[in-house]
């Protein structure tokens, strides 16, 4: 049943364009449902239209012969039609609905998987709020294009066909005229949908604007207030909100004077007059019953008129969303997994050979011709000003990006020949801004290794000096952190991150200036945890701490994306002016209090 689990091929590989994706994929998911459904809809449509004929026949019978058995037969057939319509409607609509929801579920899942698997190049340029709204709202809108829009359109199609057939039977001229009229009607209606579609889209975008601008203001409310800018923000918001209101108005204006509707109204009136005349001129073949049939059928058609514009709009929105999703899912990822993947043991040096790098979508080189060699097992410190490229170096080592120029060699192999999974299972990063999931502490630690046992987790926590505070919490390792749970202090978060990194037992450890944000006592504890972590592996850390620098086997001094010097603390103190300069600003140990 569940197509995503079985199939290997992605949507984007199976279809060549968003149109094919839109029209074929959902059918492909549940072809039987759709088939049965369509038959059911056809039956429903017939059964719901037929009573108008029965009514006419019944009235004719009444006029001609009074309340006969035949009259009862017609009346009772209306009940029969109602019953059959009920069953057919339920089965077809339910199956179709299921197909729609399945589409929604599977597409949402696949959308998430695909974009989540896109490399950082993608996530850097795409706003995560927009992606979220695509994954949630736009997928839902696509589903609405199938159910109810297409289902109802199919239903209308059958009903109209049946109506035309019946009218044709009564009077061929009315039948043909209706057919032509409907073609005209649909053309107008589609035109209308096309005109209003863009406004709708703009509306959705404006609403996003309203939402994100208010979100931003309230998240930063302390900043807003501390600068006394409440009124300023209010004005700004008012403008955004007013734009939105104006658009709503425009949309409303566009949807008034729905011209296609006029076509049907006029046609009904004309057909009414025409049938009356027919009846008066030739009583034999055009009966009162026929007149009521024509009118009842046409009035029913007018009722569809109420839905059709909405349905067309939904369909349109679905198509547009399909195009947008398609565009995002087919992102041309610059990060390419190697065709002939190599394995590396990470036992030898890590070498940067003339590496230059600019973030995808930007032209500024944030690393320029960077070269250095990190011997295995060594303990390297990265030092440099804000934006000098330290974090970027670490990201390249995780293969979150590939260098624009130059090569990173691991055991002599080009890193591009190593699959990202392979690289990331050997390298672990403790980030500058710790990210924890709103989940249990246990799950957060085990994030680095899903298979870890409870003992391993608590051992890692102990080694990271985190066990203590965790165990003091009422739920221990099962304590949920995040919005609806406990809030951790900076130091505690960092220790969790270290426990997480410890558990993954990496070959290479990357630490990004993680101790800058905590008080001394906590830092001392953290250091103890970190020493555990560094033991016996290559480590590269961004730091501004003198003691760490002095301990490092090698310091890489960076400035504006370039490596300006490399050496140990002692060497650099001797020959590097930049380093001397840096060092004089680093906090020094003092000789007692003066």
């Amino acid at each position: 049943m569940n197509a995503t689990t079985e199939k290997k091929k992605l949507i984007t590989e199976r279809y060549s364009s968003f149109k094919k994706f839109f029209w074929l994929y959902w059918i492909k998911l549940n072809p039987k449902f759709i088939l049965v459904s369509i038959i059911g809809i056809a039956i429903t449509s017939f059964m719901e239209t037929w009573p108008a004929i029965l009514l006419g026949d019944g009235l004719d019978e009444l006029i001609n012969s009074g309340v006969t058995n035949q009259f009862y037969y017609y009346s009772i057939m209306i009940f029969v039609a109602a019953g059959i319509a009920w069953v057919a409607y339920f089965i077809s609509a339910y199956l179709w609905t299921l197909a729609g929801f399945r589409f929604e579920r599977d597409t949402r899942q696949e959308f998430f998987e695909v974009i989540h698997n896109h490399s950082m190049a993608f996530h850097d340029v795409n706003d995560s709020g927009v992606l979220l709204s695509m994954g949630m709202n736009e997928v839902a809108q696509m589903r609405m294009a199938y159910n109810p829009a297409i289902r109802q359109l199919v239903r209308q199609f059958f009903s109209i066909s049946v109506t035309i057939y019946f009218l044709w039977q009564i009077n061929s001229i009315i039948g043909i005229a209706l057919l032509l009229c409907l073609v005209w009607y649909l053309a107008l209606a589609w035109q209308y949908a096309k005109r209003i579609g863009p406004v709708r889209r703009k509306l959705a975008k404006e609403l996003g604007e309203v939402s994100s601008s208010s979100q931003e203001i309230f998240r930063g409310i302390d900043v807003v207030r501390s600068y006394g800018n409440e009124e300023v923000e209010q004005k700004k918001f008012s403008k955004v909100s007013n734009n939105y209101a104006e658009l709503i108005k425009t949309e409303g204006y566009l949807s008034s004077f729905y011209w296609p509707g006029l076509v049907l109204v006029v046609f009904t009136a004309v057909a009414f007059g025409y049938s009356m005349m027919l009846m008066m001129s030739s009583r034999q073949d055009f009966t009162v019953g026929d007149l009521t049939k024509v009118i009842a059928l046409l009035l029913a058609l007018n009722r569809f008129n109420f839905f059709i514009p909405r349905l067309l709009l939904m369909l349109q929105a679905g198509l547009i969303n399909a195009e947008r999703l398609w565009g995002v899912m087919t992102f041309d990822d610059p990060m390419i997994e190697p065709e002939n993947p190599e394995r590396s043991e990470w036992t030898e040096s890590i070498v940067f050979e003339n590496v230059s790098f600019n973030y995808p979508g930007t032209s500024k080189e944030v690393l320029k011709d960077v070269s250095f060699t990190i011997p295995p097992g060594s303990n390297v410190a990265l030092l440099g000003g804000p934006g000098s490229g330290k974090t970027t170096v670490l990201k390249l080592l995780l293969r979150l990006y590939d260098p624009s120029e130059g090569i990173i060699r691991i055991n002599g192999l080009d890193m591009k020949d190593l699959p990202t999974k392979e690289v990331r299972s050997s390298v672990t990063l403790v980030e500058q801004d710790i990210f924890l999931f709103s989940d249990t502490i246990k799950a957060n630690i085990a994030f680095s290794r899903a298979t870890a046992t409870d003992e391993e987790i608590s051992l890692a926590a102990r080694r990271a000096k985190a066990a203590n505070f965790i165990e003091a919490m009422s739920d221990g390792y099962d304590t949920v952190i995040g919005e609806r749970g406990v809030t951790l202090s900076g130091g505690q978060r960092q220790r969790l991150a270290i426990a997480r990194a410890l558990l993954s037992d990496p070959k290479v450890l990357l630490l990004d200036d993680f101790a800058s944000a905590i008080d001394v006592k906590t830092e001392v504890q953290l250091r103890a945890g970190m020493d555990e972590l560094i033991k016996g592996r290559t480590s590269i850390m961004v730091t501004h701490r003198l003691s760490t620098l002095a301990d490092a086997d090698m310091i890489i001094l960076m400035k504006k994306g370039e490596v300006v010097d490399i050496g140990t603390h002692k060497e650099l103190l001797e020959h590097s002016e930049d380093y001397q300069f840096m060092c004089q600003y680093l906090p020094q140990k003092e000789n007692g209090g003066n």
Partner: protein, 695 residues
């Protein structure tokens, strides 16, 4: 930073029971409608006319049919056609105009509701805003407002439906037969029962669907925010698996809803057809008795079906009307917020003479009974640089960035600036006088230039450039894709951590405040950049009262005085050497830990370790107790100790070049500004305030 995910309004716990009487909520809706009385009246007139037209036209059909059964001429047929056409056109035009009128009214109404909510929120207490789950606040402004809009729409359209209902009924009774009217009436209870079923089951399922949707959305948001981490740990597949489960749950609820709806819809259609059949039979019998004409039977059949439509319409919109009442209820919660921290009636501007700050017997609790600060007595002289030190959670941030700018009112004691109690001062002038760098850098979606200009709208581009040069930020800003015009997005995700902090520093400095509060302002900077910032600070703001929260010894040591806060109490106060001589808390901290900031590693003995661990355990117990208390009190504690999860993200230290001997770097001077330019900046900073304090 760390929980960015929540920004995108993931899971939202909503209340599903109204907390006010329905009458009150309806009344509030009425107020919004009331503002557009005239437009609404016009709209009602239009609706009335068009529904009369649409009820008359079936009568016309009836007469046409009856006429055609008798003998008549073409002229009559044509006449009928024209009248019928005229009527339907008339009704079409009226309802089109009405759509327009309503579009205008409803867009204005939405706008007004939104403005009101925003106004209320932007002036609400920080306390309230921080305690609301992020995402919830936005939901009030966006989805809840939309829902209220839907509700208003339903009220209006219900009016139409009721009109149609009544007029159809009247016509059936007068034009057709009471028996037919009775049959039509019978279908009403059936529809009502159906709608009751729908409301009962539907409401629950809808709540579940919403919840499940919120969970999926929250999860997806979090995963997108933490994409770097899941990539670094190769966890994409597991996360996808997790999402799949939630997705399936959402699907299961959807399925139930689908079942309910698809049982309901054909039933309604069936009822309508059955009514038709019954009317045909009854009408036939009555016709045989000569009571009803064919046209009248026909009219009865048409109207009976039309009769059902409003009933169905009303009952189908009942669930969404209910949920819009819920939304209105939540909105009322917001509209009825009474901010506690407001300008006093006789509030005056903050005096401009004296910048001394006095905390007198200040005690403060975020949540009743859980004292975060207790009995703080601290007097800071005008122009003094005071360092505030203490462990995580000691209350430093609370003291300096929550109480001083009066984001919260103290429960006991008072805070004075000069002779002015801050409660007697206009909030605007108080906050404008205090410049803060918060622990967590926060940037808006705007250009770098506008971000820096945030606190000083009148500053020229040149001023901003000069300032950035002074603190060493100019260089990297120039290097951004569009320099100062680069738009910062998503809180600055494309900037390095240090760059973000630099911009907040520039923003504060440009605002040129009288009093400065630096909460770990340079924690993300390297020592050199830090020194630039510090020198700029000295150059521009020397002699202004300054609070520095810091962990780094060099900063602390160079402060005029040091305030040590431990668990919410001011335990020591004095200069560095005084405190060392005292051999108290600070001295211990200094000897055991601060040495760690130098070359040596700290080797802690076993006892020292166990002491630390002991302390931590006690701390945790304390926290646990607080949680308990919070749960008991008021029962509104969602977050625990902190309303917002992140404030602990960015501690750090403000180092300084003072005290150590300086090498003059051959290549760089501290800033690329000429002495004249520097002087110019200094002048600017002073002139703007119109007050120069000599120090």
């Amino acid at each position: 930073m760390s929980h960015r995910g929540r920004r995108f309004g993931g899971f939202q716990e909503e209340k599903h029971q109204l907390t006010r009487p329905t009458r009150k909520v309806l009344g509030a809706l009425g107020i919004f409608l009331g503002n557009h009385r005239l437009g609404l009246f016009f709209s009602v007139v239009l609706i009335g006319l068009s529904s009369i037209a649409s009820v008359i036209s079936p009568i016309l059909l009836k007469d046409g049919i009856d006429l055609a059964t008798e003998d008549s001429n073409y002229q009559v047929a044509l006449w009928f056609m024209w009248v019928f056409l005229g009527l339907t056109l008339f009704s079409w035009i009226l309802s089109s105009i009405n759509t327009r009128v309503q579009a205008k009214i409803s867009s204005r109404m939405l706008f007004e509701v939104r403005e009101k909510i925003f106004d209320s929120l932007v002036h609400a207490d920080i306390d309230y805003l921080k305690n609301e789950q992020s995402g919830n606040v936005t939901a009030r402004i966006t989805s809840d407002t939309e829902e209220v809009g839907t509700g208003l729409g339903i009220i209006i359209s219900s009016g139409i439906q009721v009109l149609l209902l009544v007029s159809s009924f009247v016509i059936i009774v007068t034009q057709v037969h009471w028996l037919v009217a009775l049959i039509a009436l019978v279908s009403v209870p059936v529809a009502l029962v159906l709608s009751a079923i729908l409301a009962y089951f539907g409401k629950r399922i809808i709540i579940n669907i919403r919840r499940a949707f919120g969970v999926v959305s929250g999860k997806m948001a979090e995963n997108l925010a933490g994409v770097t981490i899941s990539k670094s740990f190769n966890r994409e597949d597991e996360l996808a698996e997790e999402l799949k489960k939630l997705n399936q749950e959402h699907y299961n609820y959807n399925k139930k809803f689908g079942l309910l709806m698809q049982l309901m819809m054909p039933t309604i259609n069936a009822v309508s057809l059955i009514t038709l059949g019954v009317i045909l039979i009854v009408g036939g019998i009555l016709n045989a008795d000569g009571v009803l004409t064919i046209g009248e039977i026909y009219l009865g059949a048409v109207l009976a079906q039309r009769f059902l439509m409003p009933v169905i319409h009303l009952s189908m919109s009942w669930p969404s009307f209910q949920s819009s009442l819920g939304a209105m209820d939540r909105i009322l919660d917001v509209l009825e917020i009474e901010p506690k921290v407001t300008d006093a009636l006789d509030a005056k501007k903050l005096q401009t003479e004296d910048d001394a700050i006095h905390f007198e017997n200040v005690s403060f609790a975020y949540n009743k009974g859980v004292w975060v600060l207790e009995d703080i007595n601290l007097s800071v002289n005008s122009g003094e640089l005071i360092a505030v030190v203490g462990e995580t959670g000691a209350g430093k941030t609370t003291l300096c960035t929550a109480l001083l700018p009066r984001f919260y009112d103290v429960q006991k004691g008072s805070i004075r600036i000069g002779d002015d109690d801050i409660k007697d001062v206009e909030l605007y002038s108080l906050r404008k006088s205090i410049g803060m760098i918060l622990q967590e850098p926060y940037l808006f979606t705007a250009t770098v230039m506008d971000n820096i200009r945030y606190g000083a709208p009148e500053a020229s581009n040149e001023d901003i450039r000069d300032l950035c040069k002074l603190i060493g930020a100019d260089e990297f800003i120039e290097a951004l894709p569009k320099g100062y015009d680069t738009i910062v997005r998503e809180g600055g995700k494309k900037l390095s951590a240090g760059q973000r902090q630099m911009i907040t520093i520039a923003r504060m400095m440009l605002a040129n405040p009288r009093i400065l509060v630096l909460d770990e302002a340079t924690s993300r900077l390297d020592a050199y950049s830090e020194s630039l910032v510090q020198r700029a600070q000295e150059l521009l703001f020397k002699g202004r009262t300054t609070f520095v929260i810091a962990h780094r010894l060099s900063t602390i040591r160079n402060a005029d005085r040091i305030a040590v806060i431990d668990k919410g109490k001011l335990v020591e106060l004095g200069t560095h050497s005084e405190l060392l001589a005292k051999r108290g808390y600070y001295a211990e901290l200094y000897h055991t830990y601060y040495s760690f900031q130098g070359f040596e590693k700290v080797e802690l003995s076993q006892e020292e370790w166990s002491k630390i661990e002991q302390q931590e355990r006690e701390e945790m117990k304390r926290l646990a107790m607080m949680q308990e208390q919070m749960k008991k009190g008021k029962g509104q504690g969602k977050g625990m100790m902190k309303g917002q999860p992140t404030p602990h993200g960015a501690h750090g230290s403000t180092g300084s070049a003072h005290g150590s001997q300086k090498l003059v770097h051959p290549k760089q001077d501290m800033a690329d500004l000429s002495p004249e330019q520097k002087k110019k900046m200094m002048e600017k900073m002073k002139l703007k305030k119109g007050k120069v304090r000599k120090e």
